[in-house]
Symmetry: C2
Subunit: 232 residues, 2 copies
């Protein structure tokens, strides 16, 4: 690993509080690598050799079964993925593929487990990260079971808006067909869902989103922190 990458990694919440010695042990066998788009980083079912941390770009987590595929999550900086598999030393439950050019830190799972056992501050950070991941999957699952696809889209737009300068005018950050899969529908259906939201003041032209009347959309979407607040 190039030493110029270290400071950036060191300040991530996951690594911030650990001892210098533990950090050194952790990154000794690690890499930072930049991948082009559409590269499969890990494959569902494989052994979890590395803990991955994305520090730039976008990665999608994909699950497959019986010829079917679905996007389970979109991971963006700065966060880990497949932490649970690393901890449990169990096979990956999802594949990971870069969507855009992405910079990824890879730390040998074995080292992560070893340092976890020695460094309490790191252990604390791992647990917090895991708890956040767990809750995010639960929220996702609630959305899937309790909402229709149009409701999921409406809440997705409201949620993404929160991360933009202008909540009423921004660009989609992923292709529509990936978004469709993530939201649990087909691309065709996403097109129609977008039309369905037009009476609520939503227009999407290409990747450009316009929300004419936020409160109108909110009345329809009924967002709740217990599903839609990522930090809750």
């Amino acid at each position: 690993m190039r030493s110029s990458d270290l400071p950036e990694i060191r300040q991530l919440a996951l690594f911030r509080d650990m001892s210098d010695e533990s950090f050194a042990d952790l990154v000794r066998g690690g890499y930072v690598q930049t991948f082009p788009p559409q590269v499969e980083l890990i494959r569902e079912g494989d052994a979890s050799d590395f803990l991955h941390v994305i520090i730039d770009g976008v990665v999608e987590l994909i699950a497959g079964w019986n010829e079917r595929q679905t996007v389970m999550a979109m991971v963006r900086p700065i966060s880990t993925f497949i932490l649970a598999a690393t901890i449990k030393d169990a096979p990956y439950l999802m594949s990971a593929r870069t969507v855009e050019k992405s910079r990824i830190v890879m730390l040998p799972s074995e080292d992560v487990r070893a340092v976890f056992d020695r460094d309490h501050a790191f252990a604390r950070a791992v647990v917090t990260e895991l708890a956040v991941c767990y809750r995010s999957v639960v929220k996702n699952s609630k959305g899937l079971k309790l909402r229709t696809s149009v409701e999921r889209l409406a809440n997705y737009l409201l949620r993404q808006g929160l991360h933009e300068e202008d909540r009423r005018r921004f660009a989609l950050i992923v292709e529509k067909r990936r978004l469709a899969s993530y939201l649990g529908m087909t691309p065709e259906n996403l097109s129609r869902a977008i039309k369905t939201l037009e009476p609520y003041g939503v227009t999407i032209d290409g990747a450009d989103v316009f929300v004419r009347d936020l409160s109108n959309l909110e009345r329809f979407a009924k967002p709740t922190p217990l599903i839609d607040d990522p930090s809750c």
Copy 2:
């Protein structure tokens, strides 16, 4: 807490490896209580005051939104629930209700966090438990997105069979309408799904399940450890 309950709790994976002192700190402010069926133990959105451990009975985790409700999970001994909320000191994402008469250990969340910070063996156990929970939600989510309701039912039956003496002849452990909600369908639809599986050798009379031809059902259900193996 009655001291007669302690040995039983002490031997749970979560508490087995911690120091005597930490264990004492943990249970000092805790209770063991037996609840009748249909009692709401915790409510979605409330602050997480206690970590719950079920040592007898059945508890269902329920999520609601906009007048709709769904069973997110059925928890049976011996496991914790809502560990993530306790760790993060965040609101519960799900409600919990006893299905049958259940014996529950309740440990103050504050104490759990305090002991977690001091006792490394406990921290290790918490992380393992969290990782298991995380992976189980991911598997669930995969089933929801990748399988039809009949496929989910078929795999559910195969999975439950593994915990019975006779994989081909056992009883459902929950009411059908709860099972329906858990599997993401209506009770009416579950009835029909059961009929759909008849050609594959499945009969369900009341709560009694008969699987005439296991391999036939498996050919249809296509179970995979990456969705259906709870210990994977």
